[in-house]
């Protein structure tokens, strides 16, 4: 017995003696919001980095949805238990930018740690969205997306339409939806995820309409919403009219969780959502062929639709860790920006390639030629020259403001408010939220 105990304890001591070698690796916590397939792919990226060197170890952990991850990180920061890296969706950008003491800006992080950093290598709309007023990038672009249109080619053919010609304008989309319904090819024309992001924010950008003052919030805290203009009112009016006719089916608030099944079940022939839904759409649409197209526009408003705007998330470095940790974070960010890593993430997920080099690599690999439609999102977000109205929307507390937009949209669908009344109410309530944010951050 004694011998056994002795043996065991020697074993323990031996194990402990080896432990320092393992502990020498600096662990870097990375909180993210990518589940299922995306989460697996993300872990693959982390493993790729961990295997490429022996000094640091990235430890990714899934923290729920985007809002949940942001809330968890903020709560952790208040308790001084924050991760070194957190993934924050674009809606949280205003909140993060205002939290100057909490954030280690990425341009500074790279400079302090002597890592190469060339902002001009990133896609222009991505750089613009995550830069401060002096043009410095504050967070590391990771998974950026933009909404596109998916359509069911088989239903188009059944309705007597050309399966290779998706609608370009809203007028065409209305006519085609009607033909689809009347021919009995599908019971509904179109549906959409994210009414706030796709049918309001992106609609405004594409038609060069302001969403708020001070360059859609890029210019400072004293901004006000202005998305109750004639184009937005016209569009919401149309959506209500189309919903009453059955041409459009509402998929629910926030992300619109009911929208994808409507498309997958071939109930609605057209579906608008993030380019990052691509993998999911293809996987769930095995019984019919999917086509991809840019979002429609009103040709009586503009003949030159602007670029669409960004969604998705970036990686923020949080303050309060050892310099050693930030050295690892900087190296990891360099690893992430490599064209091979980016191109593989982008091609697997449908998120945008965030660097020009990753896009070019994809072209060299013939990826876009082999997968028709996979570059629609990139072409749409880089078309034309971005204006003050199409740079993006960046407001504090935008999560709350989006909830308000959803609620007013639902009130309009229920018939208690007209489009004008609903948008006016959303602007008024939204401005109150902006004032709160301003007051809390001054």
């Amino acid at each position: 017995m004694k011998k056994l105990a002795l043996l065991l304890s020697t074993g323990v001591i031996a194990a402990l003696a080896h432990a320092p070698n393992v502990a020498a690796q600096t662990e870097i916590a990375w909180w993210h919001a990518m589940d299922a397939e995306l989460g697996k792919k993300l872990e693959e990226i982390a493993n790729g980095f961990n295997e490429s060197q022996s000094e640091f170890k990235i430890v990714p952990s899934y923290k729920g949805t985007y809002p949940e991850t942001l809330t968890a990180a903020i709560a952790a920061f208040r308790a001084n238990e924050q991760p070194a890296i957190v993934q924050v969706f674009e809606v949280g950008t205003g909140t993060m930018m205002a939290a100057k003491g909490a954030v280690y800006p990425v341009y500074q992080l790279m400079e302090d740690n002597g890592e190469p950093w060339d902002p001009s290598g990133f896609l222009a709309p991505v750089v613009g969205y995550y830069s401060d007023t002096d043009g410095n990038i504050l967070s590391m672009p990771f998974n950026s997306s933009t909404p596109i249109m998916y359509y069911n080619k088989d239903v188009f053919e059944k309705a007597g339409l050309d399966r290779e010609t998706p609608p370009k304008t809203w007028a065409e989309l209305e006519a085609m939806s009607r033909q689809i319904m009347e021919s009995g090819a599908a019971p509904c024309g179109f549906t959409s995820g994210w009414i706030t992001w796709v049918q309001t924010e992106n609609l405004s950008a594409i038609h060069d309409q302001p969403y708020g003052t001070l360059e859609n919030g890029f210019g400072g805290l004293g901004t006000e919403f202005t998305f109750n203009g004639p184009v937005q009112v016209k569009h919401w009016d149309n959506l209500k009219k189309w919903a009453d006719e059955g041409l459009f089916e509402y998929g629910g608030p926030v992300g619109g969780g009911d929208a994808p099944p409507k498309f997958y079940a071939q109930e609605c022939a057209i579906y608008m959502n993030s380019s990052a839904s691509r993998a999911g759409v293809i996987n769930n649409s095995k019984e019919f062929e999917v086509g991809f197209a840019p979002l429609p526009y009103y040709d009586d408003v503009t003949t030159d639709p602007k670029n669409s705007i960004i969604g998705g998330a970036t990686l923020w470095a949080l303050n309060g860790k050892d310099p050693e940790v930030y050295k690892g974070v900087a190296q990891f960010f360099t690893y992430l920006s490599q064209p091979e890593v980016q191109a593989s993430w982008h091609q697997f997920t449908g998120y945008l390639p965030i660097t020009n080099a990753a896009y070019e690599l994809g072209q060299e690999q013939n990826y876009y030629a082999d997968n028709p439609g996979s570059d629609i999102a990139i072409k749409q977000i880089t078309r034309g020259t971005p204006t003050a109205n199409s740079k993006g929307v960046r407001f504090g507390n935008l999560t709350q403001a989006r909830t308000v937009v959803d609620e007013e949209f639902e009130a309009m669908l229920a018939g208690t408010k007209t489009a004008q009344e609903a948008l006016d109410a959303a602007v008024e309530r939204g401005n109150q939220i902006l004032r709160d944010f301003e007051a809390a951050n001054q």
Partner: protein, 294 residues
């Protein structure tokens, strides 16, 4: 006959024995409640860098906000409907099972099952059944000529969450009612039957009054359940929508505080919620309990 009284001479021991319970109450109830009270008077950015004392601004803003006032009345409708529906159905089921002699064990087990299901799972179950796109219920309702869409129609959404919340609570109420019914002395009922009282009369004049402690207890438990415990269910079925039609107080506290990161307003709301519950419980114990016969 007087019960024997035991006297413990030790003066400190009783307090020592109370310490664990008091500590738990202090740490997990009193302290957070005080924290909520404190931050309800403050305006703070999410990260907690800048905190300003704003007096009653958070409260003032709440009560001029039509959405908050709307949420109050929605909570009242919701809590009242869930309590009435789940208690009356549970009582009917309990009375029915109490009459079946041989197989009541089996029925009881079957009826208690739903209580073992977590609120979020209940929510997803009902979300699935009533989903306007893929659910079976709207499909059947449409065949019957009723257009069901709780995504757009606020009344549909309210009905859905009331049914879902009640469904789960019926089991709990049922258990207590069955236990209560079985403790009603058979001799009383038999005597009344011999005197010529019908089943309905026997129930109202003998069984129901004897059930009153159970009913009273369940009333409080159900009100609290509807106001606090249904959070997961609302989150999984309607997320407070459409257009805030099912945004009950406890869910609004969550969305404003955790999604919107508006800690001041969220704290003010939880303080209001706390006051409502304290008031309700006080009223129940002061007035309703008087009518209860133990």
């Amino acid at each position: 006959m007087q019960a024997k009284r035991t006297i413990f001479p030790n003066k400190i021991l009783p307090y020592m024995l109370l310490v664990p319970q008091l500590a738990v109450t202090l740490i997990f109830f009193i302290w957070p409640a005080l924290q909520a009270l404190k931050s309800s008077f403050e305006r703070e950015d999410p990260f907690g860098f800048r905190t300003t004392f704003v007096w009653f601004e958070n409260y003032r803003r709440l009560f001029i906000d039509p959405n908050y006032v709307g949420s109050l009345s929605k909570t009242a409708v919701f809590a009242f409907s869930v309590t009435v529906l789940s208690m009356s159905l549970a009582l009917i089921l309990a009375v029915a099972v109490n009459r079946v002699l041989r197989t009541n064990r089996l029925y009881t087990t079957l009826l208690v099952w739903p209580y073992a299901v977590a609120p979020v799972v209940v929510g997803i179950l009902w979300w699935f059944m009533f989903n306007p796109t893929i659910g079976i219920a709207p499909y059947l309702l449409r065949a019957a000529g009723i257009d069901w869409n709780h995504r757009i129609d606020g009344t549909d959404a309210m009905i859905l969450v009331i049914i879902a919340a009640s469904w789960k609570q019926i089991s709990y109420n049922f258990l207590f009612f069955v236990a209560g019914l079985q403790s009603v002395p058979q001799s009383l009922i038999e005597a009344a039957a011999i005197d010529g009282a019908g089943p309905f009369k026997r129930f109202w004049t003998i069984v129901f009054p004897l059930l009153s402690p159970t009913t009273f207890f369940l009333l409080i438990v159900n009100m609290n359940y509807a106001m606090f415990d249904t959070f997961g269910l609302i989150d999984a079925t309607t997320q407070g929508g459409p257009a805030q039609a099912t945004n009950i107080l406890v869910y609004k506290v969550y969305t404003d505080g955790f999604i919107g990161l508006n800690i001041g307003s969220s704290s003010a709301q939880s303080v209001v919620l706390m006051i409502i519950v304290i008031a309700l419980t006080a009223i129940q114990f002061r007035y309703v309990e008087r009518r209860v016969q133990y």
